[in-house]
């Protein structure tokens, strides 16, 4: 009996360790420039970067500002630049980072910082809206629109997007030219362009055949690497380029 309790205790014991987080702070009311601030926190092996940020906000400095909603990699609110890479704070286990070094947490790049890790997402959403990310069909929705599994598979990958902006803000083209639609908008255009039930592929292809459209893509693959959902973003952009050349999906 006692050994059973002991072994349960052993399993339940999660190792804890000390990490240093350098967080890029910016207070628009008091700071002219963003600055780094470091925090030492004790975290567990099961903790994610988001848990460490919570610990800072709840126990050390309540003024730390960041976005998070579901905290489980579904809503896409907490994309940030962690150790120089765009990731979701809620999907990044601290133990998977190099904990012998401090962990650097910054807001995603290319969008205006509003406070600490919160950026102005409006330009990002505007590009998304501009590609008409909704089904356009001329028939009335009175019965189910049948689609074969093969037709569904054509855009399966791009349905996974959660609009976290990790891809768009990892794109070096977007960093200097935020008129560029960016990977996320193109991914969401792809989702409808290759949907057999949709009738406005040409419209979207025309929108993306823009000076700031698909041709700005340099295939650096930063977006594919950054995507927390594992979407092959660069491949999707290449497929849209091919479709623009063909003039149809």
């Amino acid at each position: 009996m006692s050994t059973a309790v002991e072994s349960v205790k052993e399993i339940a014991e999660v190792p804890s360790f000390q990490v240093t987080l350098f967080v890029r702070r910016f207070d628009p009311e008091n700071d002219a420039e963003p600055k780094w601030q470091d925090f030492d926190v004790t975290v567990f092996g099961t903790d994610r970067v988001l848990d460490a940020l919570h610990k800072i906000k709840w126990e050390l400095d309540g003024s730390l500002t960041f976005r998070r909603s579901c905290a489980h990699g579904v809503c896409g609110s907490d994309a940030m630049r962690i150790n120089g890479r765009n990731r979701l704070a809620c999907k990044t286990l601290i133990k998977d980072l190099d904990i012998t070094q401090p962990i650097y947490v910054e807001p995603i790049k290319g969008l205006k910082v509003e406070k600490d890790l919160v950026v102005d997402m409006n330009p990002f959403y505007q590009a998304y809206r501009d590609v008409k990310p909704f089904l356009i069909a001329s028939d009335s929705p009175t019965k189910e629109r049948i689609q074969s599994p093969e037709d569904r598979a054509r855009f399966d990958d791009t349905t996974k997007c959660i609009l976290c902006a990790a891809c768009t803000t990892s794109c070096p083209v977007f960093w200097t030219d935020n008129q560029y639609f960016g990977p996320a908008a193109i991914v969401n255009a792809h989702r409808f362009i290759f949907d057999s039930r949709d009738e406005a592929a040409e419209v979207r292809l025309d929108i993306l055949n823009d000076k700031e459209g698909v041709w700005r893509c340099r295939t650096t693959f930063n977006c594919t690497e950054a995507c927390p959902r594992g979407i092959e973003v660069t491949k999707a952009i290449a497929e849209v380029k091919q479709a623009v050349l063909r003039g149809r999906a």
């Binding site: 505007q126 200097t176 008129q179 055949n209 823009d210 000076k211 700031e212």
Partner: protein
């Protein structure tokens, strides 16, 4: 007093991109062509001659440009490489310059330079005359200077 509220989802300004599309296609086609042309160029100049790289001298070049095939070959390589390279530089300029006047200035400099180099190169390839120097017969085969 009328207050003008900026429309929250005004469509972004559309700029014709047929040019960008053509540039993108050009880069793909010229890239493949250049790969073939450059490998051919390196083989003929450096690998195939018996004395290898030492075979290249004035006579070697004069001999090549006496043949219309090599004139076209080198001309094509010159045009494609310069336009391909300049367009690549243009994309870099567009990616990294934030001020519009600087972007324009750099792009104009790029294309003017490329234009001059293409002009000069084409002039050399098409009007090349090894026999301009009367001494040339002493070290070139008669075949080259018929006059």
């Amino acid at each position: 007093m009328a207050i003008i509220i900026e429309q929250p989802d005004a469509p972004r300004s559309r700029k014709s991109a047929q040019w960008e599309k053509r540039a993108w296609i050009f880069m793909r086609i010229s890239g493949v062509l250049l790969l073939v042309l450059i490998i051919g160029h390196l083989s003929v100049n450096l690998v195939l001659p018996e004395r290898g790289v030492k075979a290249i001298d004035f006579a070697f070049v004069a001999g090549k440009w006496a043949d219309p095939f090599w004139q076209v070959y080198d001309g094509l390589m010159l045009w494609l490489a310069l336009i391909h390279g300049t367009n690549g530089m243009r994309t870099l300029v567009n990616d990294y310059t934030e001020r519009e006047w600087l972007r324009k200035a750099l792009n104009i400099t790029l294309w003017v330079t490329a234009g001059l180099l293409i002009l000069l190169g084409t002039l050399v390839i098409t009007t090349f005359d090894p026999c301009i120097d009367p001494e040339v017969h002493t070290y070139l085969p008669d075949l080259v200077c018929k006059g």
